[in-house]
């Protein structure tokens, strides 16, 4: 049976089912993309406490002021780097672009981590009552 024949032999119900399935797969593709892109974030901690959490897929520059120093974080093309820092050795700046892992500025007590934070994974709660 040729392809033409098989198309001709389908019923209306078959066609509706086909369209429905195409529809479902198309939307699940969109949904997966959406969910996956959401899963990564950049968390910036100052003095051991989470100060900011940003999505990795939105480009921006953030100025972070801590009690021991300050730095500027740039998020671009799903990567993160420190563009400016008040610390003397600038090790954090020299680390360049990071797509996974962390940039830690020890003198400034500021850390920038790429990946799901413990909070977003639901390991640690956002707050504790009691």
């Amino acid at each position: 049976m040729s392809l033409k024949d098989s198309i001709r032999s389908t019923t209306v119900a078959d066609r509706i089912l086909l369209i429905f399935l195409l529809f479902i797969s198309f939307f699940s593709l969109l949904l997966t993309k959406e969910v996956l892109s959401r899963s990564k974030e950049v968390s910036i901690e100052v003095d051991g406490e989470v100060r900011y959490i940003y999505p990795l897929d939105t480009d921006r520059k953030v100025y972070v002021e801590g009690s021991h120093g300050h730095l500027t974080v740039e998020i671009k093309d799903r990567g993160v780097r420190v563009t400016d820092s008040s610390c003397p050795n600038k090790l954090c700046q020299r680390q360049g672009w990071v797509r996974a892992g962390a940039i830690i500025c020890i003198p400034g007590r500021i850390s920038v981590t790429v990946g799901g934070s413990e909070k977003s994974k639901g390991v640690t709660p956002d707050a504790i009552t009691g």
């Binding site: 899963s39 900011y52 959490i53 999505p55 640690t124 956002d126 707050a127 504790i128 009552t129 009691g130």
Partner: protein, 304 residues
């Protein structure tokens, strides 16, 4: 206010988040100053000083909060009662000394929420008996969390969480599209601090917990803690910890105290009647929950 407050907000720009957080903290400080039991300057202190003498003109927030307190008292048959002040001041948890039984009994004559006169028109409050004292410790923190959330919303914030100690109000979703997650502390920590017994997701809801482990001492094998039963003047014994979930922090705060005193059976009945959700760890450590909470709560393994 000697309380740890944390505020988390979701915003597109950090400046916007910082500004909203600053405004919310300013509101928290303002309310803390109005409602502070221990400050001579607070409106609450003025009401207490004028007990049995005159009525006191107060700000709308103080009036609103005391009205809510009286409402909880009415609906719990006086199990929650902010006029517990004269009993509270007898207890010194740092000194670990139990007050004299006779004095506790005597002061019960000063505890009755029905002797609070509220005049909405004139915006005044008065206490009818000399020596009466209002202590808002069981409701103010939840109310302040409510007001801080209102302030954040006024600043255009659509998602955030305010925690005034254990009184927490959350609104909106986190950036990953999920609700805020709140851990409920295990009332009998087996070692490390902040041990969590259960986790719950909150959206546009508040949660508060009343526990016998916050301020307490142990003497003669008895645990004496800060949640006093207004009917006896002694620490309530029916529960170890009670968490209540409802829309407003003022209610989760006050009902968690009331349900703690009532214990699991009557407590669950009150929660059902009010349409609130809750979790009770009773005096033996057994956990009771409202029906609606069962599927929404995630229990952690407990060693105790």
């Amino acid at each position: 206010m000697d309380t740890l407050v944390t505020i988390q907000v979701v915003a597109k720009r950090p400046e916007r988040a910082e500004k909203a957080i600053d405004r919310a903290f300013a509101e928290i400080k303002r309310l803390g100053d109005l409602l502070n039991f221990y400050s001579e300057e607070s409106e609450l202190a003025k009401i207490n000083r004028s007990a049995g003498i005159s009525d006191v003109k107060v700000s709308p927030e103080t009036l609103d909060l005391i009205e809510k307190a009286v409402s909880t008292s009415g609906k719990t048959g006086g199990t929650f009662d902010v006029t517990i002040g004269p009993e509270i001041i007898l207890w010194d948890f740092a000194e670990k000394k139990k007050p004299d039984d006779g004095t506790i009994k005597e002061r019960l004559n000063l505890v009755n929420y029905q002797w609070i006169a509220i005049d909405r028109e004139k915006s005044t409050i008065s206490l009818m008996k000399r020596g009466m004292l209002i202590d808002l410790g069981g409701i103010a923190k939840g109310y302040i969390a409510d007001r801080a959330v209102e302030e954040l919303k006024r600043e255009g914030i659509v998602s955030g969480l305010v925690a005034v100690a254990g009184d927490i109000r959350a609104f909106g979703d986190k950036p990953d599209g999920r609700p805020w997650r709140v851990g409920i502390r295990n009332p009998r920590q087996s070692g490390r601090d902040d041990e969590i017994m259960a986790m719950i997701e909150l959206k546009d809801m508040a949660i508060s917990t009343a526990g016998d482990y916050e301020r307490f001492f142990i003497a003669d094998g008895n645990r004496y803690h800060h949640i006093l039963d207004p009917k006896t003047g002694y620490p309530a014994k029916a529960s170890r910890s009670v968490s209540v979930i409802a829309r407003e922090g003022a209610f989760t705060d006050s009902y968690s105290t009331a349900v703690f005193i009532l214990g699991p059976e009557k407590g669950l009945e009150v929660l059902r009647k009010m349409g609130f959700e809750g979790l009770i760890v009773d005096e033996h450590g057994k956990v009771h929950t409202t029906d609606g909470l069962r599927d929404r709560i995630e229990f952690k393994r407990l060693d105790s």
